[in-house]
């Protein structure tokens, strides 16, 4: 391939989907049920639309500047200082997101797979793997996502299909939940929407897309697809366990896998296999976050050497991921930061979009 816009629309969508499906799979049903009880499926559907707002603004503002990344054209739109300040926030957010994902992954590993192995070593292995992969360019980054996506989807779909027969429809009712309050409902929607910040990766992909015009449509479709995917997980686990039991389970999706079995024959328990395949989806998610953090820092200090920055950030992410004291703190911090991230990643593109609109109206031309 000798053209310099090698990323197809399909690959673009694959990156977004495999980024979004990540660590969250395991705990997502519990969060939703904790906030909304039986209204969890409804919340997660609404959350898709909440997330679509930010996604739409990001994609449409990127589409207007199909030859540059957001980091570059934001400098022109907002001025150097403002843009750099936002880049710092983006960098810090994705740095934190990387380490938080890493820690959540480690927590799952020590509770499910290795009860006595130190969490540090488990995390370090994955971190080094990601750190080495981040050194490559965006096209290779895309290839990785595209290659792994089928494995992620197929494994989850198999688990879901095996669980379908155990769903009890009564568990899903009433759809609005038993004690519906607007505040907890909207909180749940917010929380669920924050799962989708991975779509922000599109700012790096659009400049390499073969048809950047399709960016908005493709990003929305990808987000919608993964949203539906999450919703189905919520529906299946709610239908199978019911709201009261889910609240007791730390990782409801894992319990789905645990109760699923392949007949009575060869594979009696699928949870270990499920966790192993889940490592792939964690890898792709952390990979994207790490990549964004590295790229943001690269743009911030304006050096080209991605390898250097990748290696430089690795110890920081590692230490950052070890900071929370325990399991509960990990999730509390993750919740707060992801909601902050959601707000920022919706408001900032919106701001850019508005500025672009005003500047355009004012007659200042920019390259289309």
């Amino acid at each position: 391939m000798n053209n310099n816009r090698p990323i197809t629309t399909f690959q673009f969508m694959a990156v977004i989907i495999s980024t979004i499906i990540g660590v969250g799979i395991l705990v997502f049903p519990r969060y939703m049920v904790e906030y909304g009880g039986n209204s969890a499926p409804l919340m997660s559907i609404l959350a898709i639309f909440a997330a679509l707002i930010g996604c739409w603004f990001t994609a449409s503002v990127c589409r207007k500047y199909p030859n540059e990344t957001l980091f570059v054209f934001s400098r022109r739109l907002l001025g150097r200082g403002m843009a750099d300040f936002s880049t710092i926030i983006i960098f810090l957010f994705f740095l934190n997101s990387t380490s938080s994902n890493m820690r959540q992954f480690g927590e799952v590993c020590i509770t499910v797979l290795f009860k006595r192995t130190p969490i540090e070593i488990l995390m370090l292995i994955l971190l080094i793997l990601v750190g080495l992969s981040v050194r490559r360019n965006i096209v290779k980054f895309t290839y990785i996502h595209v290659f792994y996506l089928p494995f992620i989807l197929i494994s989850v779909i198999i688990i879901l299909m095996l669980s379908l027969k155990k769903i009890d429809g009564l568990n899903l009712l009433p759809i609005l939940g038993n004690n519906f309050t607007l505040s907890s409902f909207s909180k749940g929607v917010f929380l669920s929407a924050s799962l989708y910040q991975g779509t922000f990766i599109l700012i790096l992909l659009v400049p390499l897309m073969r048809k950047p015009k399709q960016a908005v449509k493709a990003a929305n479709a990808a987000l919608f697809f993964s949203g539906i995917f999450y919703t189905i997980i919520v529906i299946v686990s709610l239908g199978m366990f019911g709201m009261n039991e889910i609240e007791l389970l730390i990782y409801p999706t894992l319990e789905l896998a645990r109760s699923a079995s392949f007949g009575t024959g060869l594979l009696e328990r699928l949870d270990a296999i499920f966790i192993v395949v889940w490592v792939i989806s964690v890898f792709t998610t952390i990979f994207t976050n790490y990549y964004l953090a590295v790229y943001a820092l690269r743009e911030l200090i304006r050096i080209k050497d991605q390898r250097l920055i990748s290696s430089f950030l690795l110890p920081f992410i590692f230490v950052l991921s070890l900071l929370p004291q325990n399991f509960f703190q990990v999730y509390d911090v993750a919740l707060v930061t992801s909601v902050i991230g959601l707000i920022f990643l919706t408001v900032y593109p919106f701001l850019l979009w508005v500025v672009d609109l005003i500047r355009n109206k004012g007659g200042l031309s920019h390259e289309k």
Binding site: M1, T8, L132, R269, V276
Partner: protein, 548 residues
Amino acid sequence: MQDWNEKYLTFKQKKTPAKNKAITSQSTGSGNAHPTPQQKPVDLELKNNLQTIQEILGDNGDLVVRNFRMYGLYDAAIVFFFPLIDEEQIHEHVLKPLMNIPSAPLTIPTQLSDLPNFIWNITVHIARGSTTSDLNTLPISLVEGNVILFIDGVGQALTFNLRKNEHRSIEAPQTELTIRGSREGFIENLEANISLIRYRLQTPDFRVQTCPLGTRSRSQVALCYIEGIANPALIKKVMKRLSAIHTDSIIDAGYIEQFIEDQPLSPFPQVQSTERPDKSTAALLEGRAIILVDGSPFSLIVPALFNQFFQTIDDYTERFIVGSLIRLIRLVALIFSLFFPALYVSIISFNPELLPTEFAVALSGGRAGVPLPALLEVLVMEVFMEVLREATIRLPQMIGGALSIVGVLVIGQAAVAAGLASPTTVVVVALTTIGSFATPSYSTALALRMLRFPLIVLAGCFGLYGVMIGTLVIINHLLFLESFGVPYMTPYVPFKTTDMKDSVIRAPLWWMKQRPSFLNSPNSTRLAHQLPKAFSDLIFKDRGDEYE
């Protein structure tokens, strides 16, 4: 002849299709074989010339200097290395006509400077050779298998290419056996190898660019491609890499491979080497380039992708359904040989709950007396197996086969009886080894064999998680890899629908209308007719006719 750098530069500038530069074009070649800083003219005195040549070449037992009187009129001498030359031909075609005193002496030119032309036109009957006045090129043409004729009083020397081509006869390839396919393999001789391809590819567009490579060995290296099918950018890239080789010797095609590959630190081969002329021809027709080296029975196919390494010629000669199934089985064997021992270790030491209970009990019963942990047990057995395998390659053929069977049976049985290994481990190790033999490409099988060991260690330390991490490392590496600018995992990622027809499955030949798209061939269609109609005609109409 030029060197690779000049060839690359001329190719780069060339806009129009080149004229055929086949190997036979040496006869027209007039330049320097080996560019030397200064030219030294051939002396008029025969004695001086011979002295200079002998000074340069030193004391050699196989250098022959034969003085004679040409046409009974002129003093002359021929110089050659007799092991390289066919002496029969010298007697018949050089000495006999030159020493013959012609019946009509008037035809012999009286002007000394006319002599070289006269000799070429009238006397010697040799196709390849040249006239040169540069003394410095002569030692090189001597070692290349030329006979040099000096004439007293003539400031030029004549070289005749009478190189003796001694080579073994063409046999079936040793490493790539097929059931249904040609039985011919390349041999060491470059000309014979090119002829093997040329007679399969009777198109005037077939190009062979040859040049010596290696300052000492001066091995002839031939770059072959089909003009109009191979992408010129690819040929340019290959030439550029060849021209960048500065070494003193190219002993085998493997040397070239290591100089031109994209990522030398990768365990995976990025250049395919094959002994089969039919495979090379097929590669040429897909738009790839091949490199042949004089003295090596292997041709190098570039670019080479992961996809190619579990394909054989059998897949294409056999009917497509069966061909596809066999290819799938080979892929299974490939995955098997890489993962099986690692999965075994991780399941028995970390996740025995994945196994059915009865089997898990039987398994642990077998392992009862084994003193080593599973990791070490498998590792030790695998290392034994590798040692055995390496030993059988080196053993003389007569006892090699016997030892491998004895080795596997006796050592395996003894290890179980002595309580060093469990029976299941022996089975796993044996299956893995057999699986790795199913991979047709030796170098890929080698890479996978070696990658198995880190996976086993990871499995022993971190169970399935470790295997997964190891797998991710390997797959990421494969995805990052490129061969001559083509992503290594094409057509899987980046996904190409048309190329998927020749991937894990092999689509019917009449369906594969396009050459591989990632090679960007200027002439990408290989089937002329519209397929569905022709096929339905073939199936329904023609068959129907027979019974009407």
